[in-house]
Symmetry: C2
Subunit: 396 residues, 2 copies
């Protein structure tokens, strides 16, 4: 048979991260390229006991077909919880439960975007989302990142000059990959700019609860009374990524269309996992769990920072970060970043080349991403030591 | 905000089945409209004990990120199992694990179809799949069903006259909604016709293991040595639909593109459920479980058949069926089917109007679908009695 693929698929490439992940689980490899939560961050005991009582007491609830929009008690609880804890959501907003926040990116794109329409995004940005947008044949337009978030001038210019913009995609907290957090001032400006142009904001916040330094900032959605922001949340980094439970809070007109699209994609998300997440929020001390997580990542980030101080100075610099799972590191001018990453892999230290996060992978980039949640302390120290060594070798 | 939806979403309507399901769970309603497995068909004890040991012994396996293509031991086992039990699959075939078989429909369509391309399907056919195809702006072309499966002449004609056909969608066993099983002779003819025209076959087999009468027939995929057939399977009807675990077996060139599309949709499917399904197949007596299921549905279908003999004759007729979950019933000429369904709903008996399963809902149709797996025996008897009464009232 001769297979004729759709136009949207012909140009798609597997995510560079997933491809690298495949090799990074080989024996002996130091996986600084991953994005997995730390294995000791999972609430094993809570999940085990919650699952036991669920499957013993009301198993049919966990095993039968359920509603496309998600487990009703979880939707209702999230709406209340997000409003009370983060001041987020209006009476006109609804919640949809998705198969990971990745599906929020997918469903919103499916709902809004015609082939060739434009998505504005931060440059660099999360490759998984960029690939989702690409799979709908979006035209990606990257707006440069600055130390305090996306360039407001760049965004204003893009909003003025680009055609058929469907939304602006942003990760305001501990952005993946740059680690940057958008300032409050910029959140307000970004909100106003998009509102005034009638362009939706897709606010992706997988790491917001993983702040281990500095002060919490209001989400952009918390500024929104006019239905401008679709907020994407996830339990992947705070409960379990293998469960695949994410959610969106946004204007009901849009959420309802996303529900129709979700019907066609997977009918509904795994219901056992939705119930476990609901009970984790309501029957366990969830805030204490989050404090424990932040402590884990505070400690691990300190291990990374100390190793970088020791082995990266002065050749390799990095963005300051106050939460999340990643450090964004930059090589000196003139040093070949892709060659550096390749040499790392040859010595079994995997990092992700910064070009993977650009709207155009062919653009020049001196940066690479290190994850500090997956590796052990020893792997972090050893990996950074080897990377520092490679940089010095390349510097000659 | 004024929301601008994509063209593909503008015309999409929520699935009539899902909309009816919402009301069918209201108190006092007799849910002959559903498609849920019988609650006593779930292997509660097996799932509970398998989950307990999984979450106690290797919880990180069940909670961490996993591979997009699915849990490797399940993929490998399914390949072997389908080959040994059903003679299905070649060396060039691969397996992908999906979020329910619904996602196979979605991913294959995303992989093959450009907007406006044609999908051939049986008429009537499963509304959930039709809506998925529609969400990619497929042009649906229905081929009439006959007592022994799709019309071969109709299929040949459609293959000759339609443009840009990407695949033919068929449910050969106990088709939803018609209950019809395709004869072996027709399976061969359908295979040859599509192969000769270079058109893929999407063979959807959610009910194949639920045969309670007659003899098993080889799947179309079992005839396929040339990569013509994409086979979709599911654990929804045989283990649990709430788990959302489906799979496809098909040519690796196509499966690999589907994996790339799946990355962008949900990264991977819930891994706990994948491991439970794998252990259900390998650590429990799965064949005994299937025999128990068939016994349950044989008994329930007999309850329905007896009630229909008693209350439907001579006004309402039905297609014979040897498995699955549905009976396809037809009103006498001249009786208004939609009015009949509406009168049923007013008396709290929900069935699905046959028009919901057509490529064009405006076409005339005298049939409706009854599900016999979800209702209790008493509900089946009472529901059929009321429907029979309505038909006699309408006959006047």
């Amino acid at each position: 048979m001769n297979y004729q693929f759709s136009q949207r698929v012909k140009d798609l490439k597997p995510s560079a991260i997933r491809e690298i992940l495949k090799n990074s689980s080989a024996p002996g490899v130091i996986p600084l390229s991953a994005g997995n939560p730390a294995p000791d961050a999972f609430p094993y005991e809570d999940i085990r006991t919650l699952s036991e009582s669920l499957l013993a007491d009301t198993p049919v609830e966990a095993l039968q077909y359920s509603l496309t929009e998600g487990y009703a008690p979880l939707r209702e609880y999230l709406k209340k919880y997000m409003a009370e804890k983060y001041g987020l959501g209006t009476d006109n907003d609804q919640v949809i439960i998705t198969s990971g926040a990745q599906q929020v990116m997918d469903l919103l794109t499916k709902t809004l975007l015609n082939e060739g329409d434009t998505v504005l995004c931060e440059a660099p940005s999360f490759i998984g989302s960029l690939n989702t947008f690409r799979s709908y044949r979006a035209r990606l337009c990257g707006v440069p990142m600055e130390e305090d978030g996306v360039s407001v001038e760049g965004l204003a210019k893009a909003l003025d000059t680009e055609k058929n913009i469907k939304y602006f995609y942003t990760i305001p907290n501990f952005q993946n990959p740059s680690g940057v957090t958008m300032s409050l001032e910029k959140r307000k400006r970004v909100y106003e700019l998009c509102r005034d142009r009638g362009v939706l904001i897709l606010e992706d916040n997988p790491y917001g609860d993983l702040r281990f330094a500095g002060e919490d900032l209001p989400s952009i959605k918390a500024l929104d009374q006019e239905g401008v922001v679709m907020y994407a949340g996830s339990f992947s980094k705070v409960i379990s990524p293998g469960m695949r439970v994410g959610y969106a809070v946004g204007p009901q007109e849009v959420i309802q269309k996303m529900v129709v699209c979700k019907q066609g994609e997977d009918v509904h998300s795994n219901i056992w996992a939705q119930i476990i997440c609901h009970r984790m929020l309501t029957q366990r001390d969830y805030e204490a769990h989050l404090r424990r997580l932040r402590e884990i990542y505070r400690r691990k980030s300190a291990v990374l920072l100390q190793a970088m101080e020791e082995h990266f100075r002065p050749l390799i610099s990095w963005n300051p970060f106050e939460g999340g799972l990643f450090a964004w590191c930059t090589l000196p001018k003139g040093m070949d970043m892709l060659d550096f990453v390749k040499r790392g892999a040859e010595r079994k230290v995997c990092v992700v080349p910064g070009t993977a996060f650009l709207t155009d992978e062919a653009e020049p980039c001196q940066s690479f991403r290190i994850n500090f949640s997956t590796p052990t302390d020893e792997q972090l120290k050893e990996g950074v030591r080897i990377l520092g060594e490679i940089a010095r070798e390349m510097q000659g």
